[in-house]
């Protein structure tokens, strides 16, 4: 509620500043002008949003799936961990958008797949690292107890390590969700869509090129709102699961 009030105050001040200081719309459009552009371009923005959303959600889904299993197998096998390590370092240190032109070459006939892979590369690492780290956070005493009673590694994984890792995995999902959008928009900036479907990054670029700043802001608004929606939805999911697990938010689920 307080955040909403701050945002509304900011918008009012912005509107007033634009009127009082006669700021030209090509430099900084007033919120009312942005709203007008949003209404006018609704159809275009909606179809662009759908395209970017498809890339973002697809990349996010794949990141959760692959990130979880890569993290899990790295935890279970030293061999996998050592094999995966150079690639995870590569993912961390290489600006992934710089790979986008290469992906366009590889996926010449499928721009969507190129964008998807690019966005996936941006958002998969937090899932791998949080799954791997989370699995290692299970209570050491209980691990000793499980070893004492010769409880199988699979039972230990299911009953102890996976539930203990859940808060970390959910946190990784939240970070990954935000990065998926960054990756989708960034990849589209670099690679273009190359097809008929045009995403929000294309709208941003075209508006900037034509100096239609209100349109640019309108597209930016859609990107921001989408990002906030992803973050909030994943935060709600995280909070719900942690409440069910009776683990305070942002704390480990290790035994008490």
């Amino acid at each position: 509620m307080r955040s909403l009030l701050v945002v509304l105050t900011f918008l009012v001040l912005w509107q007033v500043a634009c009127s009082v200081f006669s700021i030209p719309a090509w430099f900084l459009p007033a919120p009312s002008a942005v709203l007008q552009a949003l209404a006018q371009d609704f159809g275009l923005l909606a179809s662009s949003f759908l395209f970017t959303a498809k890339v973002t959600l697809g990349a996010f889904f794949l990141a959760v799936l692959f990130g979880f299993f890569i993290g899990l197998f790295s935890y279970l096998s030293r061999f996998v961990k050592d094999g995966v390590l150079p690639f995870t370092i590569l993912l961390q240190t290489t600006p992934v958008v710089s790979i986008a032109p290469l992906l366009i070459v590889w996926f010449r006939n499928n721009a969507f797949a190129a964008l998807l892979v690019c966005a996936w590369l941006v958002c998969v690492y937090p899932m791998i690292s949080s799954t791997y780290a989370g699995l290692g956070k299970a209570d050491n005493n209980l691990k000793r107890l499980f070893r004492l009673y010769r409880i199988s590694p699979w039972q230990s994984l299911w009953h102890l390590e996976l539930p203990s890792a859940l808060p970390f995995i959910l946190n990784g999902m939240r970070i990954s969700g935000g990065l998926a959008l960054v990756g989708a928009v960034g990849a589209e900036f670099v690679a273009g869509t190359g097809g008929r479907e045009l995403g929000l990054a294309y709208r941003l670029l075209m508006a900037a090129y034509n100096q239609e700043t209100p349109r640019l802001f309108a597209a930016l608004c859609v990107v921001s709102v989408f990002g906030i929606m992803i973050h909030q939805l994943l935060a709600v999911l995280e909070s719900y699961v942690l409440r069910r697990l009776r683990v305070p938010t942002h704390e480990s689920a290790s035994a008490t």
Binding site: R144, L148, Y149, H159, L245, A253, A255, T256
Partner: protein, 256 residues
């Protein structure tokens, strides 16, 4: 029961443990028989908990021999932390191990036994409570109940009361003594607290800072058959003897 008639549970001879070339335990000779109440007393880092892990079979000896005449399922552990899973109720926490290790289980009988043990440790009314609804003392009682539910012959206690406040610790020590009096449970207690060792053990092995057993104290020799209490003059005498022993060994004493 005389010593000769007692069944030997574990026998260690010239046991040594090394981690990365550093000796953690040296030349440990110890025989643990049924009904023994042993305390391993020593400063932090002297290898007491390591010895407990060796006795449980969780750690291999680097040198010497360890002979165990009981199965892993006949042992149980209580740790310094209660190590309860926050997403399980007290009842679910304490029945988890028996449910995982049993090939076939009579759930009704298990729950009945669990309730009876929870009654014994004073938690009968908390069986459906979650760990975050329990005090520190209650959590330790739940951990004790979990250990007792597997009906162990040998209970390994790794500084179980050291994280508790004084009144709670004393109450739990009294509960354990009452349990000793009413059963033939064998216990090995790791502690750095002389009073605790004196109250809860018949034999006290005093460790040097470098992982050797300096001397075995028989509590009965100090008490001359009197009931051991916190106020016993024998405790002061033993405390003085242990301090002298440590000082001779070159250990710097503060409030040991």
């Amino acid at each position: 029961m005389t010593n000769a008639a007692k069944k030997t549970l574990i026998h260690c001879e010239r046991l040594g443990i090394q981690f990365n070339g550093i000796a953690v335990l040296q030349d440990i000779n110890l025989t643990l028989s049924q009904g023994d109440r042993i305390a391993l007393l020593g400063p932090s880092g002297c290898g007491k908990s390591t010895l407990l892990n060796v006795l449980a079979g969780l750690l291999e000896a680097s040198s010497g021999t360890v002979e165990r005449y009981l199965q892993p399922a006949e042992m149980s552990f209580v740790f310094q932390d209660a190590s309860l899973l926050p997403w399980k109720t007290v009842l679910q926490n304490i029945t988890m191990i028996p449910e995982l290790i049993a090939e076939k289980i009579n759930s009704a009988e298990l729950y009945q036994r669990a309730e009876s043990i929870l009654l014994q440790v004073g938690l009968r009314d908390k069986l459906n409570a979650y760990p975050d609804q329990l005090s520190g003392g209650m959590k330790m009682r739940a951990a004790l109940a979990r250990a007792l539910l597997v009906a162990p012959q040998l209970l390994l206690l790794d500084e179980p009361f050291s994280a508790l406040d004084d009144p709670t610790r004393e109450r739990l020590q009294d509960d354990l003594r009452a349990m000793h009096a009413s059963s033939s449970l064998t216990t090995v207690l790791v502690t750095h607290n002389m009073e605790e060792a004196f109250l809860l053990a018949d034999r006290i092995f005093v460790f040097s800072h470098d992982g050797r057993i300096l001397r075995e104290f028989q509590v009965a020799e100090y008490t001359s058959g009197e009931v051991v209490t916190r106020e016993s003059a024998a405790l002061s005498q033993m405390r003085s003897d242990v301090r002298t022993l440590w000082q001779t060994d070159g250990l710097e004493l503060h409030n040991a």
